[in-house]
Amino acid sequence: MTEPLVTFRNVEKRFGDFVAVRNMVLDIHEGEFLAIMGSSGCGKTTTLRMLAGLEAPTAGEIRMAGRLMNDVKPHERDTPLVWQSLALFPFLTARENVEFGLKMRGVGAAERKRRALDWLDRMQIADFAERNVATLSGGQKQRVALARSLVMEPKMLLLDEPLSALDANLVIRMQGVLTKLQKELGITFVYVTHSQSEAFAMADRVVIMSQGDIAQVGSPKDIYRTPANRFVAEFVGRNNILSGKVLGGDAKGMQIATPQGTFTAQTPQTPLAPGQSVSFAVSADLLTLSETEPDTVNKAQATLISEEFIGSLVTLFLEGADGMEFKVQMQERALMDLDLSPGATLWLGWDAASASILSEG
């Protein structure tokens, strides 16, 4: 395996008493699209700002291509950032904005102009090159901001929730633009967002942060299918989380007694002793729903409470034993032959492989 582009080793960032990032260990590889995701205050933006040199770590080491970066000033780095507010200079035209970084590097006027126009053309906004940025639309500004960073030909592009100000249709389009760009250029994108759909749609790897800690790192699919802990299971997607005690088990599955019944879950890598308290998660789209008892390993009865349509997808909310709320996500047409009147009692079923045990935290 090649050496990572960026390494975080036990990095900590404090603001007074507040710990924004705690003991972070993370490698960022060359050419990957990495998303850092979490709710506000989780430390994702602080992590990005440390990469740009806008904040210095309180402890630990950040290295880029082996070089210690802790005290390297922002203007001495090659880490252009696309800002949430875009931060285009309002007193400059689109082209002058794109030229700014090249000018700071001492690139000559003619060369600057050629490269700026080249990038504006590539972003399909060459027609607006001489316009003041204040007169551009949201999507056009977005493209200017991207061009302004990419014209610097960096090894790594930092993006801080760049799509959060756009309307939903434009977000989807810009996601396409971004993933295509990243693949074409082959450079590393580090993308900070609070949006799961953005992170999962674009990233090769996702880092989920919670209160300054990394809760899980993995591919979108890994995180979605096997959340490492309760925080991730609750944060990502629609998971049903059940808690109980370990009865026993082998390599094929663990038996867990819960107030909703005794279920079999996937055996985790670190073995669990009988009697231990444990939680496991089952993704809402891995549950089946039927009027008769299913022949799956795990089954439970529940009462239908309500349903929620998102186009062709439907989420059903059911109440099981002990007040447990189950969420089931299905295609609308798969529900045709079920009695879905509120209060109807239905069977839920799922495989042992769909139930992943969560570590504490």
């Binding site: 922002p74 203007h75 800002w83 003041n132």
Partner: protein, 285 residues
């Protein structure tokens, strides 16, 4: 719609006080002053007339133009000095100070306005006099004494007493409202810390700074106290010329000419400055 052309009595009632105020205390006096400038003085008494003799007398005299250019020059110079002296302090307050420190500093900067400008001017006597505090201190290091009272330097010090606190406050407020992200964005694109002042801070502060400089200029241009008490009025500024003209032979009409020239100058300067400050960004080619 027909209602558009009707006079809205309700709105007019509320607007009336300000309209009356402007008519009585601004438009009225200005019209009166313009009228006076065409009057003539006979036997030390002002007589109604419509003659251009005052305009002719003042505008063809070397001493008027000497005074005019001197006032324009020294008021501009002191405005420029005020802007430059204020900048480091305002920059530090806007970018380095905490919100609380900034608030406290702005409050402290307002305190000078609690005391009379005249009193503050007189206090400079103690400091600037031949045997004053400053010369005594310079004496310890083997310098001076310098003549500081009754010089151009004295005039500028007086003007700065008037304008510097205001310049710091206005500059601070201007820069505190800048989006700090833009400064960080410049750093992120390779701009050195000091260069961000030229590249980002000043372009973003243009409107506020032009207005601040305009204020400093207007205050200095019309000030009579500093050039009179600290400048010694050897080189009379226009306000001192007005005073002298009215005292010598009751020449109110000629003083009116000077005053109108001052007003026209301020109008021209203010108009140019505002045009400059609010110039629209270019929209298309």
């Amino acid at each position: 719609m027909s209602t558009k052309h009707k006079i809205d009595l309700y709105a007019l009632t509320w607007r009336l006080p300000i309209i009356l105020w402007q008519l009585i205390f601004f438009v009225g006096p200005v019209v009166f002053m313009i009228a006076i400038s065409f009057f003539v003085v006979k036997n030390y008494r002002m007589t109604e007339a419509f003659e251009f003799v005052n305009w002719q007398r003042m505008l063809t005299r070397g001493y008027f133009w000497d005074s005019y250019w001197y006032t324009l020059f020294i008021a501009s110079l002191s405005a420029a000095i005020a802007m430059m002296l204020a900048f480091p302090a305002a920059w530090a307050l806007a970018f380095r100070a905490s919100e609380n420190l900034r608030r406290g500093a702005v409050f402290l900067l307002i305190i000078p306005f609690f005391t009379s400008y005249l009193v503050r001017t007189f206090s400079w006597y103690v400091i600037l006099a031949e045997s004053g505090v400053l010369n005594a201190m310079l004496g310890y290091v083997g310098l001076g004494p310098f003549k500081m009272l009754n010089t151009h330097f004295g005039t500028v010090v007086g003007y700065l007493t008037l304008t510097l606190p205001l310049a710091v406050i206005l500059q601070t407020v201007t820069m505190a409202n800048i989006d700090k992200t833009l400064v960080e964005a410049a750093r992120n694109l390779g701009c050195k810390p000091l260069a961000t002042i030229w590249r980002v801070v000043l372009p973003l502060s243009k409107t506020g700074f032009v207005v601040t400089a305009l204020f400093c200029f207007i205050l200095a241009f019309g000030d009579f106290v500093a050039p009179f008490y600290l400048g010694g009025s050897q080189e009379p500024t226009l306000p001192i010329l007005i005073l002298d003209t009215t005292k010598s032979g009751q020449q109110w009409p000629r003083a009116a000419v000077v005053a109108i020239m001052m007003m026209l100058t301020l109008f021209a300067v203010a108009f140019t400055a505002i045009m400059l400050a609010y110039r629209k960004p270019k929209v298309a080619r």
